[in-house]
Symmetry: C2
Amino acid sequence: MATLEDIGVAAAFNLLSALVFFLAFAILRLQPFNDRVYFSKWYLKGLRTSPSRSGAFVGRFVNLDFRSYLRFLSWMPEALKMPELELIDHAGLDSAVYLRIYLIGLKIFIPITLLAWAVLVPVNYTNNTLKSQLKNVTSSDIDMLSISNIPLGSDRLWTHIAVAYAFTFWTCYVLLKEYEAVANMRLHFLQSEKRRPDQFTVLVQNVPPDPDESVSESVEHFFLVNHPDTYLTHQVVCNANKLAKLVKTREKKQNWLDYYQLKYSRNNAQRPIMKTGFLGLCGEKVDAIDHHISEIEKLSKEITEERERVLKDPKAIMPAAFVSFKSRWGAAVCAQTQQSRNPTLWLTEWAPEPRDVYWPNLPIPYVSLAIRRLIMAVAFFFLTFFFMIPIASVQALASIEGLEKVAPFLRPIIKGFIKSVIQGILPGLVLKLFLIFLPTILMIMSKFEGFISLSSLERRSATRYYLFNFVNVFLTSVVAGSAMDQLNAFINQSTNEIPRTIGVAVPLRATFFITYIMVDGWAGVAGEILMLKPLIIYHLKNFFLVKTEKDREEAMDPGSLGFNTGEPQIQLYFLLGLVYAAVTPALLPFIVIFFGLAYVVFRHQIINVYNQEYESAAAFWPDVHGRIIIALLISQVALIGLLSAKHAAQSAPFLIALIVLTIWFYTFCKARYEPAFVRYPLQEAMMKDTLERAREPNFNLKPYLQNAYVHPVFKEEDEEDEDEFNYKLETESVLVPTKRQSRRNTPVPSKMSGASSPSLSEVAPKHSEPTN
Amino acid sequence: MATLEDIGVAAAFNLLSALVFFLAFAILRLQPFNDRVYFSKWYLKGLRTSPSRSGAFVGRFVNLDFRSYLRFLSWMPEALKMPELELIDHAGLDSAVYLRIYLIGLKIFIPITLLAWAVLVPVNYTNNTLKSQLKNVTSSDIDMLSISNIPLGSDRLWTHIAVAYAFTFWTCYVLLKEYEAVANMRLHFLQSEKRRPDQFTVLVQNVPPDPDESVSESVEHFFLVNHPDTYLTHQVVCNANKLAKLVKTREKKQNWLDYYQLKYSRNNAQRPIMKTGFLGLCGEKVDAIDHHISEIEKLSKEITEERERVLKDPKAIMPAAFVSFKSRWGAAVCAQTQQSRNPTLWLTEWAPEPRDVYWPNLPIPYVSLAIRRLIMAVAFFFLTFFFMIPIASVQALASIEGLEKVAPFLRPIIKGFIKSVIQGILPGLVLKLFLIFLPTILMIMSKFEGFISLSSLERRSATRYYLFNFVNVFLTSVVAGSAMDQLNAFINQSTNEIPRTIGVAVPLRATFFITYIMVDGWAGVAGEILMLKPLIIYHLKNFFLVKTEKDREEAMDPGSLGFNTGEPQIQLYFLLGLVYAAVTPALLPFIVIFFGLAYVVFRHQIINVYNQEYESAAAFWPDVHGRIIIALLISQVALIGLLSAKHAAQSAPFLIALIVLTIWFYTFCKARYEPAFVRYPLQEAMMKDTLERAREPNFNLKPYLQNAYVHPVFKEEDEEDEDEFNYKLETESVLVPTKRQSRRNTPVPSKMSGASSPSLSEVAPKHSEPTN
């Protein structure tokens, strides 16, 4: 077990490395040639332009103003300055609410830390249990402050129960307030937002096949009959997966072509040569530029053919459609009700934002979905419990004893300072390395399960990642041994033995988790701000590929926040904080520092760097809330186990009552707030409809919604046309509202609907205009 | 352990008692003076009149036609004759579907029995394990046919696993088909049914208080705004609980008055005298008739006052209302959507049938509901696990050894035949006696929880009763000892030890459950047809109270089927059958006989006797389905335990896979069929609306719905007026449709709405007529 000195060294080391990261960041971000990496959000918003266009040549790449280096932490207050409303405007509600998770961490743990240090630390420290045993057990100084220092069966343990009650009530109170606040933010956001296609649109899946009608006709007839007053238009879903793949391949080839052309322009003497075989390592030698040009031409032809096939072939039309309504009320009604007798046909749900749709999954039929979910549940079970075999073996190696056993010749080296460093860092690092590749696997699993929006894919991956972390990081670190061993032990242990096993082990592993928090939390967060990977990729791309301003914009794409990896990691800190709150209060300050640091860093990143791909209006909050409550429950179970091992089993009923109350709180919150994240109240919809009708009585919704949900492959090429058209439309409807009358009987200009997809618009509007 | 001889004696005894019951029934039902008890359903339907009106005096009471006694089992084929569609017409869908539960029992267990006897019995019987141990263990002949006879670790156990797969697949197949059939029956029923107020009506609860508006105004404004095209009218809910109580008291007094008057008319010499104190045992002596007349007068006055108070006092108006719509589509939309931003306000759900509403629970607010549910969950936990202490002690007494210990002087008597009888009957009987009072307690608990319809009250009680039965009948009989001991053992046992404990005990308790099936099942069902309690009560009432024909009708009220007690008991047989199917096939024929007998008897009872209070259109089916699947899962877990005790633990993964598949099947069915029982598809609603509009374009819904959901206390007195009015309205609208025009602007005659409750109709219709 690590001593206080080890922890001090590790803390110093990690703080130092964090400081180094911050310094490096301060230096790098001030260099103009990195500007696009560290302020990409502003570039994407068009609010910042390249500083390299003006000034001296050297000044373009290196910042020569030395004063700016002195204020190297100045980004921190800057990051905190932007008020929340502006932040929502700037980065979207998802990001703003995501930051609130860190804020909750602070809100929960600062008072808990204060209370724990004020009450528990004195109660724990004024015992002599450990001192008297000091000779045979190697316990660290930190354990002096923990519950381990309290003698068996002591009445002092009642303090811990009382404090556990206080912690639970405080956590629940914060959670309740926060759930309420986020639900209000979400409703307010949906309410105050501008008109968005997804407010009027419902995704219909599993349209039953009809021998006499095409999918498009069938959809139109169904909704004209069953939603006669509100149905407006619809777009059927095409299976354009192959087309999308072809387009992507062409883009890649185009990139290579650009690269070779740039190379040739720099060195005119020699035309670039390449090999056609595997990875350019074998095969015939050809002229690279000519080869790529001919390849791209071939692909373009294929794309045109495929595009025509998709638009004409009825087999490419999927039994799914985006159905748009004349009002939000109509869409809300359709999304929340069952349409058909058979509840697996005509499945309706709110359409995700157009950006949020995960197109490849739209065509999956219902029965297949049920089977896919079963397969993935089983696969995830095996992944969780058998993935650990390699981790555990490496972890065993990474302990000092393990190292000494495997490589006895290292013994003279591993001493003193180095020993502390290795013991402080290695176990956490090994774990971390293993976890890097996991999110990708989990995301593939979620995709296989058939979710139809990116946000739900990320939410599902996050849930799985959390479970994985819980079993493979928390449980296996607490009760040493692989997850498989855990599983075996838990099956063979009695029900009241399991909490005891966990409870007893929890205080023993406090030092490990403290180092884990420092390595993974502190240093990880500080590393995050450096953006090392995007920085390198950007400069590589910039050097090899970028020719135009548009290329540069694509090169600097910072990606989005990554809810599926970020949130489960934060949850691990909630879990650690809550579990150790009543057991080893010494761990709490580390948690608080983590949340504080992470809050500042991610606020900066969200303001300056990340660019959300989609906006789900904080749909992930129920998951976040639920997981913090799970952490609370686990902490209570562990405390029961610990107390029963401390011969204070008579106190168990009090903690069981606490568990029952916590579960009840969860069900209460679920009933009270979750609907705000799943359904859209009719009152809100009606209010917004009425308001809008009063404001813009002549707005023509149909052209606005007509092509909102066209597959992005079709959209890209029409984008410019469309923008132009939309602009024209808007100005038209504002300036010359009477003109609309004349268009009522002549169909909308066909270049939008007709040219891009005849099948999408072949169902001509047979009903009245949407102005009512 | 009982020998085969014991079981033979018990079976003979129980068959004999069943035969005696049937004979008694045959004799009693042929007597004209019992006619109203055994054919009450027909009387209530007005299809049968008292046979006592004609014929000789003796013939009125005793059937003298001896030929009819010879065909004493003739009711059986008669009961089976009525086709299902006619049965639905005659007794409602609830009853018809209830019968299908027995039918499922036959469908599941007849093939399982055949397969088990064809495969398992030979496999089990051709071993010598038990014979070789016969000297030290007292095992019965039945065990020779069970899995107990197979040696440890034998390869023959694979047969049992294969058969368990076959049983599971067959059961799931039957369940799937049946779920589909019932869902279709339900939709067909809802579709083909006549117009009913609950099709157009939604119950709104938790109307938020408004300082400026009354509840009624607030409701009207809200729905006029948010459902402008479909809102028709509404009725607020009054808290008439006190009024209902007063009316009930008056009825009781009236009954006593009738009794005394009848007594006086028979014996004119002496006026009846009664005491005013507790139960008529103490207090002042008064003239009974005068006393009751004055009491009734006083009550009538109070009732009038209270009625006026309820109608005028705004405090008596509850924040709930029945909101009616112009179309089924509108009601379906409102019932399935969230209305308000705050999901605990303006809660909407389908209104239960007017007969089905449980009025006293309508005024309970949302937060209180959440707390009530918590309290009841905790209370039920304690009820289940601590109720057993007395039962277990009595059961211990009821065993032969227990009896001999307590009363050694009985030893000479308890021998041979008597011993068999006691051992065969007593343990089951004791359990049965204890369970008689339970349903009432559970019903009170459900009422406290705040369900608003009788059907949901019964469903919740049934769920609780099932859980109770599972723990206290099944578990405690399998693993001897009280539920509390069970709980303690299960907490202290390891997770894989629990199935083993159950699994090992299951084959040992086969004989006990066989006797239980005979006593509780066979004899219970045969006793059911006798209707002894209603028969006695009817004759008592007939003798003491009945004066008019209406009194007689009230006296013969047979009650309804009692889903809350009946269904959980059937489920116990499903559980026993499935658990023992692969273990002790000898038990299966007893189960099959039970289901066959019960099906015939209950079909007869439903056709001839019971009168459903309400119609929930088989809303209980998902519960039934779920519980059979739970039984299946328990049987699989028990089998795993048994096999691991048989040293065949390597086969466990196969059964775990079976469990996973069964759970998946459950979730699949839930997603596929449950919506049909919870929601009302818009397509259906629209279809029905359109059809009706085409058939009766001029039907005026508003007066039809105006008073459909008035509290029964108000309704009773207006009943005759209303019938008359309804009749008038119908004939009017058919014969002289143009007359309606003139009524459009003059309000509907006020005698219905105005006279009965001004507050219910004070919101005059401000919008257009509902004809579109």
